[in-house]
Amino acid sequence: MAAQTTAKEQFVSFASEAVEDVSERQHRVHIDDSVTSPVVLYFATGIAWLVLGSLAGLGAAVKFNLPDWLGGTPFLTFGRIRPVHLNAVMYGWASLAGAGMVVWLTGRLCRVPIQKTWALYVSAILWNIGVLFGVVALLFGYNQGMEWLEFPRPAGGLIALGFLFFAYSIIETFRKRQVEHLYVSMWYILASMLWFPILYVVANLGIYDGVTEAAMNWWFAHNALAVWFTPVGLAGAYYFIPKVIGRPIYSYYLGLLGFWAFALFYNWNGIHHLVGGPLPTWLVTVSIVASVMMFVPVMAVAVNHHLTTIGHFRMLKYSPTLRFVVFGSMSYTAVSFQGSIESLRSFSEVAHFTHYTIGHAHLGVYGFLSMILFGAIYYIMPRIAKWEWPYPKLIKLHFWMSAIGIALYVIAMCTGGWIQGTMMNDPSLPFIASVNATKPYLWARSVGGTMMLIGHLAFAYQFILIIYRSGPTRYVPAWFELRQASGSEESKPV
């Protein structure tokens, strides 16, 4: 043990000393150091919510296969663990890990140490207390009855307050920036700082009922993606893809065009969830038109990322970050096109109120956002922990479990959902026939969910190792395969 500690200390000391005499590198390391503790706090708590949320999600999925399983325990019934899954992964995992990535990116892109770090600690604490309070309340049956807004209002208030402290630190850092021009990722980050607090506060005002409540519910739920989760994911993709490849983004013009088209069209999308509902027709139609117009920003992003990566696809063989982020970026294109088509009335007639929507939602939040966050964490952590990921094979396991798991999940849910919708629209068939037809697809969903959970456990285990600088000491990148050009070799465990 003593020998191990000594080797670790020597390595950390060496890693720190190596940067002392180089001013630019020193400045960048100084920026990274300024965010170490808050970023680790955001990531660690986010990953804890990921594991908990995944367990709840898998439990909910298995209940579709075995309806009586754990049915005798009130707080483990479907109606409680399903919202626990949704809220734990959205406000716990995706939001906290996203916040950690945003903090790190803001320091890098503004080229200045993060300001008001105390506000980030306050933010992370309030945010986690809010999510914990909300999850416990849901388990005890307190639920506001609106999807994505199930948390009791005090829990929502704590999360909103946490976000305001977070935004305060980011905006203060932006004000002290050492760069004249804003990189496109920073546009997305700043936009989410302005938009999300307004959205969340309006949605939690509690002044709505009836049809108005339904409209507000889906205006909020879709805009949570539009003004928080998607900008965070795109900010990451616009940074990590060119950075890892070592090649500027293909078209900066397209990048900014995509951002402003995104700002113009995305926030109108939510009401397409209420196609066929008792709302003014024009309201739904405007939302459908805006949803179709989303082809513009999505194409801008898709073309830009693809043409940046083209010619460098071999790097996907080596780089964990690039593989996760490119997978996420491709999923963004797929889920956005799918969403635009899904908003059309003729398509909604079949897909609405079926498992199809669940498949679509998971492609967005997991295939796109979570995969980019995984890639970002694999890139950021070695830089702030000054310790490389100890087990590349576990990263590989994580990637394949997540990638195959989400692919299986989405294909099963979209296929099963479409069959379900077609059968429900056939008046000659009894309703139970549409339920029975989905059974094989629901089993496939449980298998996909299990695979994703296995990936998350491998990820969480490695995260614990890296924050404690534990596991084998590595002097080489934690790539999937070592490139011969690097001329490197892995050190033996000490």
Partner: protein
């Protein structure tokens, strides 16, 4: 709360969000974020002398040719 009042409240907040976005756009124009020079150079902002264009950056720890490990 009835529909018109709720819609007025929502629209008010949406106007605030829209105004902030518009203000951001005006700020961007005034600070020449869309100038040809900025647009041509903007994509290179994430690179510098230590992490230059043409060098893949997904390797913080590497062993250079002199045999000693290096922290990037």
């Amino acid at each position: 709360m009835n529909l018109p009042v709720a819609i007025i409240i929502i629209i008010s907040f949406v106007v605030v969000a829209g105004a902030l976005t518009l203000a951001g756009f005006v700020w961007a124009v005034r600070t020449k974020q869309f100038s040809i020079k900025q647009l041509n150079e903007g994509a290179k902002l994430i690179f510098d002398d230590e992490e230059p264009i043409g060098t893949p950056q997904d390797m913080i720890f590497q062993k250079p040719s002199n045999g000693s490990a290096n922290h990037r």
